[in-house]
Every structure is written in structure tokens, then in C-alpha cells.
């Protein structure tokens, strides 16, 4: 006879005793259970193999970088639709495989296996395409590594003199593909231990845009990228009774195959400055050791956790020369590479408890530090590969610490009403910045009221104030800053904020309605220049209705507005211009799902619309107020899917999708490669894409 000590009894004897005493099954704790007759003859335990294989084709009507970004549907044409999943289970071992979108550049594959209760492992692979713009063109040739000009190129002081531009431009996609590989697993050597290991590799290959400048001229360069990042997570965890201990090690190693790259200036330059170099992101390595512990106290439902993380970043990429101009003589570099090093540390403590039946408290403290130990040196500076500036400049290795204290308490006034309040304090210390330290105090209150079992109101609001010990205007002046400027992340700030959520689910009706809203207003009272104010308003509403057990309907809407005010001074004195930014965004989604129509068909319709509308106005003393044309974006998607269960094994799926995305963007509108006299751009234009996607696929199921 097997006597099983029930879990409820074990919980009741442990730290959750107070709550468990209120459990719906009182008295359970005293039982011992005779499970000898629990033979589970009706239990359909899985054993053997089952799998779904999907084959089909999808047609995409038009090229669209935006709509193909991440999805892989970026070019018109027919794509193979290949995928499936399956699982094999036997004797406590399981193996599951998944294949998705194999015919696309967003494909993924994974294998997960386990011996339940002993170990598990996974192998995964996926790709993520990044696509931008439909119309970019360039004169540069990157086939030799550096970016070179066409042989027939005629340099000029500005773009109007580029006489061979039209004949030398060729199409240039701004695109990259990110590949992810992962292998990892967990091993449970005993009931209390867990060992875990995970290795991930990301590779990103393709191109991106970067500006290369010469004095006041610049050319946008389509630069090749070839990045790889390796990550390792190792962990060991011990958990017994009320104590959990964990030790983890994390490594992130970034490898960029190039120190920098060069390009030929399309503009007329000084002698020897025709060729310039840009530094590429340097190789770097980050390691971090984390020690954590958590303990559940035997009374008051009290828990405490402590975590310490110590990390180190290293960067030793060799430097490029001050200049690639062979006619310039420059001093030797202070050192051949940065030999950069940053120590990071995080100490965190948290405590929660219910000291009284109706009360919960939470206290946490966190210390984060970034200690940049990179040596400081005096550096020459070559301006535009033309001359040495003559002024030596010190590199500035920024360091800072953040200390965060949070305390809150909740009191259950009635079973239907809970009130809570909290206080947060954040202290930040900086090196080499206008502010050495500032602190932010936040007080908030919250009520959660459930007058009916089906109606809940959750409201939270508060204020915060960031105080600055001293904004060092003298230091700011050494950086050439207007002393009246206050950088917004270092400035005095007063914030008011509030959130309200309302949830309602009518009794006996499978309908839920949820309304969420958020409001925050920032005032930078002491900032005469820079950001002086900001406000955000957001709301969302969502309704889901299970009309019948086979039909569901949903509707959701959302709106948000972000606005900001800032001031500037052209005259190096008091504010003489003011700018406002106003970003509106709205979205609506609706859908209908009908399942098991005639026991064979599932039908689903989804519609999503979102639109952005950003307005910028500038008020100056000279011209009065001017408003930029609106920055607009509109996205629409209508999607219909039909599944037909042809037989027990065969399912046929049809999908029709219409997507539309358009933008109006004055930064791109009418900007051909030579439109800006001093910038040779890539001629990217705003998006105006309409795409129809139609697909059919067959899903075949095998069960053994």
C-alpha cells in the first residue's frame, strides 16, 4: 500500500499555513492517501509518435521592405510554405520538433527533448530579416571591402556639381539577416539541484546606413556589417524547503570582423583627404557572475531574497590611425588600443511579508554601479583628415551608480477593497557630467476595488520629484554649453502620474470588457533651455465576447499622445525659440472566429488599423510660429483564414491577407540623392506599400 502525503498537507505545514487554512478544501491537510487503487485505467498516456507536416505556397503581390521586415515577405513572388511539428514519447522520454516558415527568411527550427524529471535539452535555430526602404540607391561600390567611388566620378563642392551622379547610381538594399543558434539544457541530479547550461550565437550580416562626413559635407554610406555575438549562461540552483540558492555565470562576446572601414569622399577635399576612415563597433566581451539566495520564513508569509552580480566589460580593439591622410604627420597614439575596462556590480535585496492578516508589505533596495576604469589620455584630433586641431582632448570614461529604495504596503480594508501606498527613492551619482548627484522621491497610492465579483477598479497615482544638488554651469561651459541648459536626464523634474484600469465581466455572460488608461506630466521648472515639459496620455479598451462555444468576437481600441516642450537659444543667452512636439497614435482591432462550422471548417477574420500623427512647431522671435508638415503613418491589415478538416489526418488552410503601410515624412519626402546640397543621401523615400498575400497549405497528421 502506498501512502502519499498530500501536497496540501505539506503546504499547510509550511510557510503558507495562514492562507492554506483558508483553502476551499479544509481538512485535507490531515489526510494520508491510499493510492493503491489509483490505476488510471482511463488515462490516455501518450506513447509513440505523432506529427503534423505542412506543405503549401504563398503568393505575395508586391515588393515591400516594411511589410517584409521580420516576416520575410519582402519581395513579390511565390514562397514555399513548409513547416510542421511532432513529438515522440516513450518510457518517460520525449522529443518534440518544430519547423516554421522554412520557405522564408524568417524560418525557425527547434528540437526539444527530455527525460521527464531528469534532464531536458533544446536545439534551436531561427532567422530574422531586417529590411528598410524600397528605393535606396548609391554610387559606392563595397565589393573591395572599403567603399569606393565609380571610376567616372566627378567630385564637386556640393551635390549640384555631381555631373556623373545619374549615370553612376545603382540600387542598394539596406537589409540584414540575423541568424540565431541555440543549444542548451537542464539536468536534475537530485530532487534539490538543477544544473543548466545554454549557448547562443547570433550572426548579423548585411548592410546598414552610416554617415561619413567631411567638414560640413556628408555622404550616407551603405556599410556592410558582419557581426557575431556568442552568449553563454551557466547556472546551478539548489532548492530545499524554504531556501533557494543560485549561482550563475553569463558571457557575452561580441565579434565584429573589422576594426573600421574606409570610403572615398564624393565631395572635393583637401589634398590627401580623399579617403577617410570610420571606426566600426569594437569587439567586446562581458562576463558576469551572479549569486542569489531566497528564503521563505516560517511565519507571516515572509520572503527575502538577496542577489549580487559582478561583471566586467573588456574592449581591446586596435585603433585606427588619427587620419588616413598620408600627407599629414600626427603624433603617435597614446596607446594602440583602448584597453577599456568597466566593472559592473549590482546588489539587490527584497523582502515581502504579511505581518497582519490584512496587510502586505514589500521592501526592496538595489545598488547598480558602472565603474569605467578605462585610462584617460590626451588625444590629438585630426579634423576632416585635413589638419591637426592643435588641442589635446581627454577621453571621458563615464561612470555612475544608481541606488534604488522602494517600500510599499497594502491593506485589505474590506474583502472588496484594498488600498496601498508606496515610497520610492532613487539616488544617482555621475562622474564627468554637469551633475554629480541627484535624487528622486516618489510617493504613490493605489486602490483596488471590487464592488462586484465581476467588476474591478484599479487606480494608482502619485507624484515624484527629482532634486539636483547642483547643476555645474561652469563645467557645462567648458563643454561649450549654454549655462541655462538643463539636460533632461540630469535636470530637476516634477512628475504627476496616474493610472486607472476598469475590468468588467457580466455575470453569466462570457464577455469581458477592460479599460486601461495612463497619464503622466513632467515639469522641468528649473530648465530655461532644453526640455521644459512633457505629457503622456494613453488609453486602451478591449472587449472579448464568447458568443457561443463556437464563435468569438473581439474589439480593441487604443490611443496615446506624447507631447513635449523645449526651448533653445540661438543667441547663447536666454531662450529665443521654443519647440513643441505632439505625437498621436491610435489603433483599432476587431475580429471574429467561428469554429467547427459543419464540424469541418474554422473561419477567422482579423482587422488591425494603426495610425501615427506627429506634429512639430517651432516658435522663434524672428519668424513667429511655424509648423512642420505632419509626420503620418498608416497601417492596415485585413486577414482571413479558413481551415478545412478534410479528414482525421488532413487539414487544408487558406489565408488571404491585405496589408497597407504608408508614411508621410518630411525628412525623406522629395529628398533625392542630390537634393541636400551638402549631403549625398541614398534617396530613401517614404513608404507607400500595398500588398496582397494569398496562401494555401496542407497539413497532414500522422499518429502512431
Amino acid at each position: 500500500m502506498k501512502l502519499q502525503q498530500p501536497k496540501l498537507a505539506r503546504i499547510a505545514a509550511g510557510p503558507g499555513a495562514i492562507l492554506v487554512m483558508a483553502l476551499a478544501a479544509p481538512g485535507a491537510g490531515a489526510q494520508s492517501v491510499d493510492t493503491s487503487e489509483w490505476i488510471c485505467e482511463f488515462c490516455p498516456f501518450q506513447s509513440g509518435y505523432h506529427g503534423d507536416y505542412e506543405v503549401g505556397a504563398t503568393n505575395v503581390s508586391e515588393d515591400s521592405a516594411y511589410l517584409g521586415d521580420a516576416t520575410g515577405y519582402d519581395e513579390a513572388g511565390v514562397y514555399a510554405d513548409l513547416g510542421g511539428d511532432g513529438a515522440y514519447t516513450r518510457d518517460g522520454h520525449s522529443l518534440r520538433w518544430t519547423l516554421e516558415d522554412l520557405g522564408l527568411e524568417s524560418r525557425s527550427a527547434a528540437i526539444e527533448g527530455a527525460k521527464s524529471g531528469r534532464f531536458d535539452y533544446r536545439l534551436a535555430y531561427r532567422e530574422l530579416p531586417r529590411r528598410q526602404f524600397n528605393t535606396t540607391t548609391t554610387i559606392f561600390d563595397a565589393s573591395g571591402g572599403d567603399l569606393s567611388l565609380p571610376a567616372s566620378w566627378v567630385s564637386a563642392a556640393d551635390t549640384s556639381g555631381f555631373s556623373s551622379l545619374d549615370t553612376t547610381l545603382s540600387s542598394q538594399a539596406i537589409a540584414s539577416d540575423r541568424s540565431y543558434y541555440e543549444i542548451g539544457g537542464n539536468y536534475l541530479p537530485g530532487s534539490n539541484w538543477k544544473l543548466s547550461a545554454d549557448y547562443r550565437r547570433q550572426q548579423q550580416e548585411g548592410s546598414k546606413i552610416i554617415g561619413g562626413s567631411y567638414y560640413t559635407n556628408a555622404a550616407l554610406l551603405p556599410v556592410r556589417i558582419d557581426y557575431a555575438t556568442d552568449e553563454v549562461d551557466l547556472g546551478i540552483r539548489y532548492a530545499k524547503d524554504s531556501l533557494t540558492l543560485a549561482l550563475g555565470w553569463y558571457l557575452s562576446d561580441f565579434d565584429n570582423g573589422q576594426t573600421g572601414f574606409g570610403w572615398q569622399h564624393p565631395f572635393t577635399t583637401a589634398a590627401g583627404a580623399e579617403f577617410a576612415t570610420l571606426a566600426a563597433p569594437p569587439d567586446n566581451r562581458f562576463q558576469q557572475l551572479t549569486l542569489s539566495a531566497a528564503y521563505a520564513f516560517p511565519a507571516y508569509n515572509a520572503h527575502a531574497s538577496l542577489s549580487a552580480a559582478f561583471g566586467e566589460i573588456e574592449q581591446t580593439e586596435p585603433f585606427l590611425a588619427y587620419s588616413s591622410n598620408p600627407l599629414l604627420s600626427t603624433a603617435a597614439l597614446p596607446r594602440s588600443d583602448l584597453d577599456g575596462g568597466i566593472d559592473t556590480s549590482r546588489l539587490a535585496f527584497a523582502f515581502t511579508a504579511s505581518p497582519f492578516t490584512r496587510t502586505k508589505i514589500r521592501l526592496s533596495y538595489r545598488h547598480d554601479e558602472r565603474d569605467n576604469k578605462t585610462a584617460r589620455d590626451l588625444w590629438n584630433r585630426v579634423i576632416a583628415d585635413s589638419f591637426v586641431s592643435g588641442e589635446l582632448e581627454l577621453n571621458v570614461p563615464y561612470s555612475f551608480t544608481h541606488d534604488t529604495l522602494r517600500a510599499s504596503a497594502e491593506y485589505r480594508l474590506f474583502d472588496t477593497l484594498r488600498v496601498s501606498a508606496g515610497y520610492d527613492r532613487i539616488d544617482k551619482d555621475y562622474d564627468f557630467q554637469e551633475v554629480a548627484e541627484h535624487s528622486e522621491d516618489t510617493g504613490w497610492g493605489r486602490i483596488r476595488w471590487r464592488p462586484l465579483q465581476t467588476l474591478e477598479l484599479d487606480a494608482r497615482g502619485g507624484t515624484s520629484r527629482r532634486d539636483v544638488d547642483r547643476y555645474d554651469e561652469i563645467f557645462a561651459a567648458t563643454l561649450g554649453q549654454n549655462p541655462l541648459l538643463r539636460k533632461y536626464n540630469l535636470a530637476y523634474r516634477y512628475r504627476e502620474f496616474g493610472e486607472i484600469s476598469l475590468s468588467y465581466s457580466p455575470p453569466d455572460l462570457p464577455l469581458s470588457i477592460v479599460f486601461d488608461s495612463l497619464y503622466a506630466e513632467d515639469t522641468y521648472t528649473n530648465s530655461q533651455l532644453g526640455l521644459t515639459g512633457g505629457e503622456q496620455i494613453r488609453f486602451g479598451a478591449d472587449a472579448n465576447w464568447l458568443v457561443t462555444d463556437r464563435a468569438t468576437v473581439y474589439l480593441n481600441i487604443g490611443f496615446d499622445n506624447l507631447s513635449s516642450d523645449q526651448s533653445g537659444s540661438e543667441a547663447s543667452g536666454a531662450a529665443d525659440w521654443r519647440a513643441t512636439g505632439d505625437d498621436d497614435f491610435s489603433t483599432v482591432g476587431a475580429g471574429l472566429t467561428l469554429n467547427s462550422i459543419a464540424d469541418k471548417f474554422d473561419l477567422k477574420f482579423d482587422y488591425t488599423r494603426s495610425s501615427g500623427d506627429s506634429r512639430i512647431t517651432i516658435d522663434t522671435m524672428n519668424s513667429g510660429g511655424t509648423e512642420f508638415p505632419k509626420l503620418l503613418s498608416d497601417f492596415d491589415q485585413l486577414r482571413a483564414t479558413l481551415s478545412y478538416q478534410r479528414s482525421e489526418h488532413l487539414e487544408v488552410n487558406l489565408e488571404l491577407r491585405y496589408q497597407s503601410f504608408s508614411t508621410e515624412d518630411w525628412a525623406l519626402q522629395g529628398v533625392a540623392p542630390a537634393t541636400i546640397p551638402v549631403v549625398l543621401s541614398l534617396g530613401a523615400t517614404p513608404y507607400d506599400d500595398d500588398v496582397f498575400i494569398a496562401g494555401i497549405s496542407f497539413r497532414y497528421r500522422i499518429n502512431n
Binding site: 502519499q4 498530500p6 501536497k7 503558507g16 492562507l19 492554506v20 476551499a24 478544501a25 481538512g27 488510471c40 485505467e41 521586415d69 521580420a70 516576416t71 524568417s106 521527464s116 524529471g117 531528469r118 547570433q202 552610416i210 562626413s213 561580441f254 573600421g260 576612415t277 562581458f286 531566497a294 542577489s307 561583471g311 580593439e317 585603433f319 583602448l338 549590482r346 539587490a348 527584497a350 502586505k360 569605467n372 571621458v396 570614461p397 563615464y398 554649453q481 475590468s503 533651455l529 464568447l546 487604443g558 496615446d560 513635449s564 537659444s569 540661438e570 505625437d583 469554429n595 488591425t608 512639430i616 519668424s623 509648423e627 503601410f661 525623406l668 522629395g670 529628398v671 541636400i676 549631403v679
Partner: protein, 324 residues
């Protein structure tokens, strides 16, 4: 004895995944009541035959799907269906009273049912899961927003499903959006990470099981979290840009933005929030700098980044102005 008041958010489960709700509806259609009988106290024992008792009524697909999961592996002694374990009642609690006779028209006594109509305290529900899954949950779970707000494991996880939607990249965001709809809406902005496209999960950045990191981030700091995919921005650089080193969120809106690069604001205004030096940083650029008038390098194409393209930092010895 009065039950502790549950505080699961109304509707969260249904909005999380309509399939999940269908499963609930199917279960509800079986002869099993979701509500307690008011005013009656009944001491329940475990059933005499375990799962066989339960399955004599709960034979629908949604309930039986658990046998395709790790919760129902007989050879795993830690599984609820492992040898000598309590099978369905390991999680749902003693079911003898629930399975017994009830008066005609009366509701059956409840079990721990892990759904929004369940009257069991969330902490008790979660204890049932944590008894086996404590090591799967972060050290700081107790102090995280989910735990403090009494979010139930079952609000996000489907323990009976062959594939738990919240663990899948393609379906996870919809589960999280059940409570975080404002964040979901942001992902529909013109420039956002590909969550709407179902190619990225919320857990790529957030550790939903809690830690003492703000916003329950996946790594120790916000920047460390971003560097998981953007390690090229980590540096350290010879010429650093101070806000970049401190907090990516000072310039980027990670859930989405109206502006390219997920920037919080357009250049040059974004840059002019911190740069006021004489000359071009302090000038008010107006609409006469647009392409139709006198095209301005400060407004058009990449704006300030036409020249200051190394805004994340430069490792070039002549790159102090972040142009090299």
C-alpha cells in the same frame, strides 16, 4: 470558514487566449460546477480512484490534453501522474466531495480550478504550482509585480495544453497583452520590435517571473538587456556618449515609436534637448529647411546623424565629435 478573496484580474484569462477560454467553456459544460455553494461547508477527501474518478466525467479534449504534457508522465516520480502521485488532485485538490452526489439543481462543491471564476486564493493556487516549479521561477518572484499583485500562474500558463501559448514566440505577446494592452498597442506603432509580426517575444527583454530589476528585465540592467541583441553598442568606446552608457531608454522607446529607430523624438530636437553649443546645435531649424525650400542637412535624411553618425560612441582616435 471563509475563503480568502481572490484577486485575479477580471477577464484576464479570457483575453489572454481565446482558445484557453474555449477550453474553460468546454470544461464548464461538463457536469462540474465552478462556484462554491454559498453558506455550506464541506470537508473534502481525496477520491477513491484518483484520475479514473475525474475522467469519468471530464473526458473532453481540453481536459485530456494534459496527457500529452510533462504533467502526465507515469515514469517521472515528480510528475502529478508519476507513480504514487495524486494525479488530477495533485493540483486541483481533494475531489471526493466534488465528485460525490449532489442534490438535483445544486452546484457541485468547487475544486481549485485555476480560472477566473475560481474562488481559491491566488497564493494557494500558485503554491500548488510552486511545489514543483520553485526552481523554474526567479529568486525574486515574491517581490515582483506579478506576485505582489497576485497574478496566478494559470493567468499566463495553460497546464493542460500540449503547447503552452506563453512559452511560444508566436503566441506569447497575445497572452501578455491580456493585462498589458497599452504596451501591446505601442508595438503597433510604425517603428517597433517585431512583436506584432510574432517574431519576437516579450520574454526576450522581460523576465516575467520576477527579479529585483526594474520592469522585470531579463538582464541585470536595461542596457544589459538591450545588449543581448545589440552588443555592438556596448563599448566601452574611446569617445563615449554619456546617456548611451547609462540608459538606452533616454533616447529610445523600446515598445515602439512614431519615429524611425524607435527614437522618442525627431532629430534635431531630440539632440537639442542636451546640446546647446554655439553654432548649429543651438539653431531653431524651421520648415524652410525642407526639401521644397532650402534643403537642410540638419533636418533631412538622417538629420544630425548625417554627420554625427557614431551616436552610440566612437572608437576612432579622431572621433571625439562622434563623426568618425
Amino acid at each position: 470558514m471563509k475563503n480568502a478573496e481572490p484577486y485575479r484580474r477580471i477577464g484576464s484569462g479570457m483575453r489572454a487566449n481565446i482558445l484557453k477560454y474555449l477550453a474553460v467553456a468546454l470544461l464548464a459544460s461538463a457536469p462540474l460546477a465552478l462556484h462554491a455553494q454559498s453558506g455550506e461547508e464541506t470537508v473534502s477527501k481525496y477520491t477513491r480512484k484518483g484520475a479514473d474518478t475525474c475522467l469519468s466525467c471530464h473526458e473532453d479534449a481540453a481536459a485530456l490534453a494534459i496527457f500529452a504534457t510533462a504533467h502526465a508522465v507515469p515514469l517521472d516520480p515528480r510528475s502529478p501522474f508519476g507513480h504514487g502521485q495524486l494525479q488530477c488532485e495533485a493540483c486541483h485538490g481533494p475531489g471526493d466531495t466534488h465528485a460525490g452526489r449532489v442534490r438535483r439543481g445544486a452546484e457541485r462543491p468547487p475544486l481549485i480550478y485555476f480560472n477566473e471564476r475560481d474562488n481559491t486564493a491566488v497564493e494557494v493556487e500558485n503554491s500548488m504550482c510552486m511545489d514543483c516549479h520553485a526552481s523554474d521561477v526567479g529568486i525574486g518572484w515574491h517581490a515582483g509585480a506579478h506576485a505582489f499583485d497576485e497574478v496566478s500562474c494559470a493567468d499566463c500558463h495553460q497546464s493542460h495544453a500540449r503547447v503552452d501559448a506563453v512559452t511560444q514566440t508566436s503566441t506569447q505577446a497575445e497572452v501578455c497583452a491580456a493585462c498589458h494592452q497599452l504596451q501591446k498597442n505601442e508595438t503597433l506603432k510604425a517603428f517597433a520590435h517585431p512583436l506584432f509580426e510574432e517574431k519576437m517575444s516579450c520574454t526576450a527583454c522581460h523576465g516575467m517571473h520576477g527579479d529585483t530589476v526594474a520592469a522585470q528585465l531579463a538582464r541585470v540592467t536595461l542596457n544589459d538587456t538591450c545588449y543581448q541583441c545589440h552588443a555592438d553598442k556596448r563599448g566601452p568606446y574611446l569617445w563615449e556618449h554619456a546617456p548611451v552608457s547609462e540608459d538606452c531608454g533616454l533616447c529610445h522607446a523600446p515598445h515602439g515609436s512614431n519615429h524611425p529607430g524607435m527614437l522618442t523624438q525627431r532629430a534635431p530636437l531630440l539632440c537639442q534637448g542636451c546640446h546647446s553649443q554655439d553654432g548649429h546645435p543651438s539653431v531653431a531649424y524651421e520648415d524652410d529647411g525642407l526639401a521644397s525650400a532650402m534643403p537642410s542637412r540638419y533636418l533631412l535624411a538622417q538629420g544630425c546623424m548625417n554627420c554625427h553618425s557614431q551616436v552610440h560612441g566612437s572608437n576612432h582616435p579622431s572621433g571625439t565629435k562622434l563623426t568618425r
